[in-house]
């Protein structure tokens, strides 16, 4: 139990430490080097000489997620990249924030009818600040970071109950609270799933000659006769096992 956790409502000690740590966290926001697409180029030019991000103490682009505070999702999140993004988000140490930069990270943007595009980064990770634009100008990104700084100023360690998603009836009274969605273990597929959704199981995976196990891929195209023969062998093997344990 940390010192702060013993208090359950804000008092003199917690508010003063809040002020100090919020001031410190606000002024040294180290973004993760996480450029996805065209917005990454605008993020880079925000860090460059013309409109300088380092003035706000946020110029140190930390390459590894361990040293980063804010993850700027700059670009289109494809479904293949969503798993990587959640893993990076989970690797970042605790006081972390997410800026969704650009229309693609907010809601899929111009690729609305793309089959492999995630419609917005907030479907997998919680997003704090949305910076609209395609791509947003560097000044817009700096304004986004300043809004994040204002949000961090109002942070409270104690006595701050997070807004919980709830069903509300017409007159505004809370009907019932929805289950809290925690953003851990998503990338390993261990997050709580809606019922009926079974995790993806791999079929036809094989080790490619000389390639490390990481390069596991599906077998690609198999001639029809070979596919039939493999199915028969599998059926025969299963039948043989049934006899042994029967």
């Amino acid at each position: 139990m940390g010192v702060m956790q013993q208090f359950n409502e804000p008092n003199l000690i917690t508010t003063s430490t809040d002020k100090l740590f919020n001031w410190a966290r606000k002024n040294s926001l180290w973004p993760l080097q996480f450029g996805l697409a065209c917005c990454a180029i605008e993020m880079i030019s925000t860090g460059m000489a013309h409109n300088d991000l380092d003035r706000f103490g946020a110029g140190f682009f930390a390459a590894s997620p361990r040293q980063a505070d804010v993850m700027i999702v700059s670009g289109t999140v494809s479904t293949k990249m969503a798993e990587r993004m959640t893993r990076l988000y989970e690797q970042m140490p605790e006081p972390k924030w997410v800026i969704a930069m650009g229309a693609c990270a907010i809601s899929g943007g111009p690729f609305l009818d793309g089959y492999s595009v995630l419609m917005g980064a907030d479907r997998v990770i919680p997003v704090d600040v949305y910076v609209p634009g395609c791509p947003p100008r560097p000044e817009a990104l700096i304004f986004g970071i300043m809004t994040l700084q204002k949000k961090i100023e109002r942070d409270q360690q104690v006595g701050y109950e997070r807004p919980r998603p709830a069903l509300v009836n017409e007159d505004g009274t809370i009907n019932e609270y929805l289950p809290e969605r925690e953003y851990t273990g998503i990338s390993e597929g261990k997050a709580p799933r809606l019922e009926g959704m079974r995790p993806l199981q791999r079929t036809y995976v094989f080790e490619r000659a000389g390639m490390p196990p990481g390069a596991q891929t599906d077998v690609g195209w198999v001639p029809p006769e070979v596919k039939k023969r493999l199915k028969e062998e599998a059926k025969a093997r299963k039948a043989a096992e049934k006899e042994e344990n029967a």
């Binding site: 040294s28 300088d52 605790e94």
Partner: protein, 333 residues
């Protein structure tokens, strides 16, 4: 009051208090150096450094340090916890311990050992251990590669570092740093960097490699292996490794100043400030540290084999040859 004052003179208490003061100086130096790094890089890159935090950005290091205090210390799942948490300590202690022998002013040195140079060389070689512990502890391919590179680089650059010291030791005849500074006299052309110019340059380059600064920052290759051995560290452990790095950078420049550029001696006799001579020591060390940062932002990074070739095939022969030259010169004069 008087008894309290001469109580301070008693050996163990004086040592503890002065070493505490030096440790305080080193920790603040690390914070200030991060700020200097970002300001210098800003001006080299035609942009301002941090100037929004506090008056003209001077509170930026305070903000960084407090943020790193309150960061969560994440350690990877299957990592060996003792080695993982021990590595930053094993890196910071040698970097801070070497300050014991650095002479700021004639009598302002924590412990005036008569084997100061031997002590300096012995302690700096422990730093390589910390790098290997960090690399092994965090169990990731990137950190393993970074650690192997770091160990190879630091060990193979100890040799030119030590050889280039021998020239100065031969000239002064004693291993104590205070004698070295006094033997250099207080005029600029009697300092040792003129007769020992190749040694000075080799010591400077080997110092850069020992501290893992840019032309040699392979263990922490920013764009190749993402953070080298520091990839898994966050919060205070990462801050301690950064403090160790900046402290060893400062100590290398301080030792370069004492050995080759005349310690606290003023460049010309009439510029002597008497008791305030440590100001000269501060100015020279700051200049050397500025050149460290200047090089960092203007030179690309070497590859591992080129780094080894430079160390063994260029620096070591140069120092060996120059040792004979100094020995011959001492016989003649």
């Amino acid at each position: 009051m008087q008894t309290f004052l001469n109580l301070l003179e008693v050996e163990p208490i004086r040592l503890l208090i002065s070493f505490g003061a030096v440790l305080f100086l080193v920790l603040n130096l690390a914070a200030v150096l991060t700020m200097a790094e970002r300001k210098v890089s800003g001006y080299i890159h035609l942009r301002y450094g941090p100037n929004r935090v506090g008056p003209r950005g001077l509170l930026q290091p305070a903000a960084d340090v407090f943020k790193l205090f309150s960061k969560e210390n994440v350690s990877p799942g299957r990592s060996d916890l003792w080695v993982f948490l021990g590595a930053p300590i094993a890196m910071f202690i040698p970097a801070a311990l070497v300050w014991v022998v650095v002479p700021f002013a004639p009598d302002a040195v924590v412990a005036d050992l008569n084997v100061a140079i031997l002590f300096f060389v012995a302690i700096t070689s422990i730093g390589a251990l910390g790098v290997v512990m960090a690399g092994y502890g965090s169990r990731s391919a990137f950190s393993l590669l970074g650690a192997l590179r770091g160990a190879a680089q630091m060990i193979s650059y100890e040799v030119p570092l030590i050889l280039s010291l021998l020239g100065v030791v031969m000239l002064t005849g004693s291993l104590s740093l205070v004698d070295v500074v006094q033997a250099q006299g207080d005029t600029i052309w009697t300092w040792y960097f003129l007769p020992q110019l190749p040694m000075f340059i080799t010591f400077y380059i080997a110092g850069l490699a020992e501290v893992k600064r840019v032309p040699f920052d392979l263990p922490e290759g920013e764009s190749e292996i993402v953070g080298g051995f520091m990839v898994e560290y966050s919060g205070m452990t990462w801050a301690l490794i950064q403090a160790a790095e900046f402290a060893s950078m400062a100590v290398i420049s301080a030792v370069t100043v004492t050995l080759f550029v005349g310690g606290w001696q003023p460049p010309l006799p009439f510029l002597d400030l008497g008791p305030f001579n440590w100001v000269w020591f501060g100015i020279k060390t700051a200049l050397i540290m500025f050149t460290f940062q200047w090089i960092r932002w203007s030179v690309p990074r070497l590859r591992m084999d080129q780094l080894m070739d430079l160390g063994w095939k260029v620096l070591v022969p140069v120092t060996l040859i120059w040792l004979f030259v100094t020995a011959g010169a001492m016989l003649v004069f």
